[in-house]
Amino acid sequence: MSLWKDSFLNLRHAVPRTVSGDRICRTQSKRFLTYSSQNSRLIAQNSIPLQTRKSTSSICQQRSWNGFKTGRRDFSATAGVRHGHITPPKPGEEINVSFLDKDGEKYDFQVSEGDNLLDIAQANDLEMEGACGGSCACSTCHVIVEDPDAFDKMEEPSDDENDMLDLAFGLTETSRLGCQVIMNKDLDGLVVRLPSMTRNLQASDFEPKK
């Protein structure tokens, strides 16, 4: 009874692309991927011996496994690299930024100038979505700046950003879109709060719609 389940997991792990590309179940690997090219090379080296193993078993898999399409993984690995790319800060030029998640837990990071909050959050596996890929066309990377003074130090949000913020849940006076806040030295010590990704139910959810 346990055999197949166990082997199911083993098979998954045996395919390196799965592990590096599957950001859904392997958040750990994402962090690994997104940092620097040096790390990516490491991944590539690791994958060589496993790659061979994949090819030996793939014929069998194709015959009997409909769900495991080994070919598709190459596709996702690139997407994983592309998202949330940040540059490691140079020594002495680190900028401090902190995120408070929906449970109030604080995460501190040292980042370099020019990175935006969405990329920083995604590179560090914080719960922040960028449905439009950071192009200011949705409101999923909504953040709330904790300190109004820090908010005033930032550049005014553009009309486009404000248009999107208008659609964000739990909009506040100091709301911004993560993808539009680009870190610079003036923002050192910035603290932002991530609103909950799920919404508390409201009475209006149960009212009949016309």
Partner: protein
């Protein structure tokens, strides 16, 4: 458990792989729990949590994403009517909003999970009964959206020429196979009337008013470009029943229309805007929208080639055809409304008919050669929903649910649970809904994402509370846990050809290649047969 039931396992491969230990250098790639399980003789007695998601639009994909992240052993099978995924992200988002379609990248990542299967070209309820799914899954999540649109119910609406549904028009220019043959006639004259003031109405207006050469480079259907080139439409009326404070469109869409080059905007009458003191107390979003509306467009009507207007407080009465050319639409008759004077500036304000001093209803005719109705999408029950115990709420146009996405039974046929306030809620275990099928056809992708996450969290919570007790959906001993592997023989018996994610990748590549030749990002296949030709 009988080994015959187990999906996805090739014993030859598994023995081979079990013998190969995981290298120490690869351990960091796995969560510790899995790593420990792999290296110990931990006996895993339960099987994966098999979930079917019906529909592959943003709601389906965001629910799958969250579920796969939250439940380690969840395996998701996503069923889709078309051979290709993404629903309204592909067929609803306007072609000139490519950045909104970036969510497809996320969905592609989700699909790369080995615990995710895409099963396209299977129309559940039509070509394959829902009943066939039930014994093979632990939970079914409905995220099939809103496949129809609301009608006005006015005389002349059903005419075959010059009168269109905005939903069908959007499907047509986006290359949706269902509306491939809509062939709207845009050459009947200069004036178009759109009834409804939501974002779909503004999308239609923008497509009609935009420069075709800008659209040509997008993934808009080529046949649509051919028709739009011939279009004679120069004046678009976007008509609403209520006032500017009640309009449903969002500010981004309005701003885009106001900024279209060589398109002028007829200013909105000042008396429709709230007085200063009311303006000051408005919520930010509404205030900004009204301010933008009051500012209008800077384009000079004298030098503009096209123009548009937002016409408020008008209800359509009937469509009228030309007495000279009985096949040509000539005008639309509207009756005037006025806002409930008790509170005319709230977004839920009601309207009442406006009467003239002699007691007759105030009416107005608007010249129209082409007419679009755009008064909202409508969700329908999937055929066979009642067979699995779900009673669709036709009045609200949603699947009845508890707000978290658990499907409820209005007649208390499910598992009754008392709520803190003493009332009873009747859940149908293992059945969930998300997206427009759950909350009605409103909101942007971000709204659907939040909503799909809520549902996925409910599924995850129910499963963790139920772990080890068998299926959520079926009673003990009545669930095979086979998922698609169990459904496939039924589908094959009916001669259905399911498409896989790999098939979609081939179609995707073919579409991009076709697009490249035409100088655009993608040239969609307009017919299902053309899509299947690529993969067969």
């Amino acid at each position: 458990m009988n080994i015959q039931r187990v999906p996805y396992i090739c014993t030859q491969c598994t023995t081979q792989i079990i013998r190969t230990p995981l290298r120490r250098s690869q351990r960091h790639l796995l969560p510790q729990r899995v790593w420990q399980r792999h290296n110990s003789h931990f006996v895993q007695t339960d099987r994966p949590f098999r979930v079917a998601i019906v529909g592959s639009g943003p709601a389906g994909f965001y629910a799958a994403y969250r579920l796969l992240a939250k439940v380690d052993d969840a395996v998701v099978d996503m069923y889709e009517k078309l051979p290709v995924p993404f629903g309204l992200a592909r067929y609803g988002v306007a072609p000139d909003h490519p950045e909104v379609k970036n969510c497809e990248e996320k969905f592609t990542e989700v699909a790369a999970s080995p615990r995710f299967n895409f099963i396209g070209n299977i129309e559940l309820g039509e070509s394959l009964p829902l009943q066939t799914l039930k014994p093979h899954y632990d939970a079914i999540l409905f995220a099939y959206g809103a496949p129809k649109d609301k009608e006005l119910g006015i005389p002349g609406e059903k005419a075959l020429r010059n009168v269109y549904s905005a939903r069908e028009f959007v499907g047509w220019y986006n290359g949706l196979p269902e509306h491939r043959d809509l062939a709207p006639d845009l050459t009947a004259g200069e004036s178009a009337v759109i009834v409804g003031q939501g974002n779909v109405a503004l999308d239609v207006a923008r497509i009609l008013l935009s420069d075709v050469d800008t659209l040509r480079k997008t993934d808009i259907a080529e046949y649509a470009v051919d028709e739009l080139v011939k279009s004679k439409i120069k004046r678009v009326h976007v008509v609403g029943r209520r006032g500017p404070m009640q309009a449903a469109f969002t500010i981004k869409e309005l701003r885009e229309l106001l900024q279209l080059p060589s398109v002028s905007f007829e200013p909105v009458r000042k008396e429709l805007f709230p007085p200063e003191d009311v303006m000051a107390s408005l919520p930010r979003a509404q205030k900004r929208l009204i301010q933008l509306l009051a500012k209008g467009s800077t384009n000079d009507p004298a030098t503009s080639t096209k123009s548009w207007s937002l016409d408020f407080l008008l209800s359509p009465e009937c469509l009228n055809w030309s007495p000279v050319h009985p096949y040509r639409l000539s005008h639309v008759k509207f009756s005037r409304n006025e806002l409930d004077p008790s509170d005319p500036y709230i977004s839920s304000a009601k309207v009442m008919p406006k009467h003239l001093s002699d007691g007759r209803r105030a009416e107005v005719n608007i010249h129209a050669n082409t007419f679009f109705r755009s008064v909202g999408y409508k969700s329908l029950p999937l055929p066979g929903l009642e067979d699995i115990g779900v009673q669709f709420d036709t009045k609200r146009g949603v699947i009845p649910n508890d707000g978290f996405g658990r499907i409820t039974s209005p007649v208390n046929t499910g598992a009754n649970e008392p709520l803190p306030d003493g009332s009873i809620i009747s859940h149908l275990p293992g059945l969930y809904c998300a997206g427009w099928a759950k909350r009605g056809p409103t909101g942007v992708i971000a709204t659907t994402m939040t909503d799909a996450f809520t549902t996925a969290d409910a599924v995850a919570a129910d499963w963790s509370g139920h772990r080890g007790k068998g299926s959520l959906l079926n009673g003990p001993g009545h669930s095979s846990g086979l998922g698609w592997e169990g459904v496939r023989p039924e589908a094959e018996k009916r001669g259905l050809r399911a498409t896989t994610w790999q098939d979609w990748e081939h179609i995707d590549a073919a579409e991009r290649e076709r697009g490249q030749q035409l100088g655009k990002t993608r040239a969609k296949f307009g017919r299902v047969a053309e899509m299947l030709e690529v993969v067969n």
